[in-house]
Symmetry: C2
Subunit: 424 residues, 2 copies
Amino acid sequence: MKIVDVANFSTRRDVETGTETQRAAVLEILQAVKQEGDVAVRRFTEQFDRIQLTEMRVTEEEFKEALRNIAPEVRDAIREAAANIRDYHSRQIRQSWMTTRDSGTMLGQLIRPLQRVGLYVPGGTAAYPSSVLMNAIPAQVAGVEEIAMVTPPGKDGKVNPGVLVAAYEVGVNEIYKVGGAQAIAALTYGTETLKPVDKIVGPGNIYVALAKREVFGLVDIDMVAGPSEIVVLADSTANPAYVAADLLSQAEHDVMASAVLVTTCRELAQAVQQEVEAQVAVLPRKEIAQASIRDYGVICVVNSMEQGLDVVNRLAPEHLELMVEEPMAYVGQIKNAGAIFLGPYSSEPVGDYFAGTNHVLPTNGTARFSSPLNVDDFLKKSSLISYSRQDLLAHGQKIMSLARQEGLEAHARAIQIRLENERK
Amino acid sequence: MKIVDVANFSTRRDVETGTETQRAAVLEILQAVKQEGDVAVRRFTEQFDRIQLTEMRVTEEEFKEALRNIAPEVRDAIREAAANIRDYHSRQIRQSWMTTRDSGTMLGQLIRPLQRVGLYVPGGTAAYPSSVLMNAIPAQVAGVEEIAMVTPPGKDGKVNPGVLVAAYEVGVNEIYKVGGAQAIAALTYGTETLKPVDKIVGPGNIYVALAKREVFGLVDIDMVAGPSEIVVLADSTANPAYVAADLLSQAEHDVMASAVLVTTCRELAQAVQQEVEAQVAVLPRKEIAQASIRDYGVICVVNSMEQGLDVVNRLAPEHLELMVEEPMAYVGQIKNAGAIFLGPYSSEPVGDYFAGTNHVLPTNGTARFSSPLNVDDFLKKSSLISYSRQDLLAHGQKIMSLARQEGLEAHARAIQIRLENERK
């Protein structure tokens, strides 16, 4: 892992935007499912997943089988994690509100849940029970009544049992063994089997990402997820073995994952460099972590915490660990970060799995303007206006002059007709 | 305006998604500005707006000229409208929060404003002072420190005076005479003159819309706006002249605007039909309104309020007027609408200009999942995790088993290394 002194490196990766060929394929799949429904979904599942779907929806029996095959301590851990996640997100609940005036006018804002949400869960090696919890629970806390999950069938035609157990634990039982762009299409347009949704969340491969971009506007989507990233900001009080382990926990995700240490302490930099080498050598899947460290890993030595904070804010990391003395003192100066972990015991996997905060976080610099997945993502607002006769008579003239300033005469006349009528 | 009895019409318009030629042109403009900065911006301004920009930024003198040339009552109305909008939006302010446990763990959610926002204001006939207020004020209430406005120069090389006065009234003084895709590019990539932003809001033509879609991810954007729409739900107590005037206030916006009456009263339907004909005949810009009414206007007679509410929810209108007896009684059954206007004095222009609610609203059915522009649109959240040693020792094993269930060994080891070290 290279050590640099200059702070002007960037962690922005050119995230895959897909080729024109991939986009054309996605458009074709979307159109086919829109026109042909289930028939097209089955066709694409056979083509891409090599599975002939008999029953598209996961059955009671399949849930039972997954529950039989999960280790009890894993199931218990899932249940406890779910409770923590639910507790944290329940503190985000919003109330509809209004404000009144003596004149009789009332203005308000209704805040209500979306009606139906689609949750995409990848298959294969990225079939994560934790993803189910992190995507479904905020929606449930928001009050979303219907959650439909889609996930590609495995080689044996089945869904990862951990995923099914997680879904079962949180009461998500509408699951379809469909993946890829065809799943996004089915959720957007609806088929004979699958009722359409208002919003689709959850990560997927490039075809899923392209499909989500295409249907955005017909349905809502979450931000398109990029490769993982962690920045550790550390001083001399940090434990280099802990730092190295946390960097590697990100690096193991993806060859394009980015693991960065920013530190005021050169000795720490060197110790972490050595620890990373020693720890990665004994990791399974070490090829992924090694490639990530090699291509996107950086150790940056800065002159001061102030300079370090500048670097952090410029990087706008997905995950930020503050392994410094009195980390709380610096929180006010962190402008851009998805999730901020304080102190030596707040290892990123604590947040990924268990503490309660969401692990769906803004990547690739989007922490400048995006947020962790949260309850607001499953709510929508409506404005409420009950304007009184008194206020219309008092202010109607002003409204008309504003409308005429903009050349919108019919807007002015809608007010005028009332003023004339009410003053008779 | 046709009267229909069946409730299965749709108001979804195939909103312009742009041709491949337009998309290619936009990509070229984005790339040119990214590479060449101001030089490219000036070149495109000359090409598309036929203006040779000397000073790109609006000067103190230009503000003064606009202030001299605005009618005092219009300026006063703008000021009063701004105060109402600020009051309404100030009630949306959010607090960062945290929760603690006896174990010493603290979790939280920081809620902070975006740093810098770009506001696109169209020129020409759609240069609306009200747009300035509706886009800038929520950002200011959120605490956004820097707002940069871009707006295409008019034929005389100047900016609409009403727009400048509105900006002046709310303290937005960083305005650039640049429009189109080149303005979006400048806001995204930055140029020598224009510092880049974190989010771009505001409507524009197809090139602006396409450019915003392309840069989404580098910056945040608001939802792409479609043509205006209004649904009036009315019973026999409604005044047909008021209904007609409100329908026309939408129809005058755009030939693709949609104005719909849903009513339980056939007599009202017929009276409104007549009123619309009579009122539109004496409108300036009547051709636009007439085309809109002809192509997208509908009067739908339903059997009951229940059926009417069903239709409304399916339409998911941008603006909904409830001109019925006791409108408040039905609010709980309205599931999908951008802004809901209650009673005979809540004419839509009241909300467009003055009452305080935002006039940037979800169109084309997106009220199913989108909201009026609001303070949340200019905030971002960060999760905060301070996990205690006690909790890590108590729960570390569960976290490790969850990580191993997902095949993420380095995640497990980041926990394990701490458990082993802390238990020595």
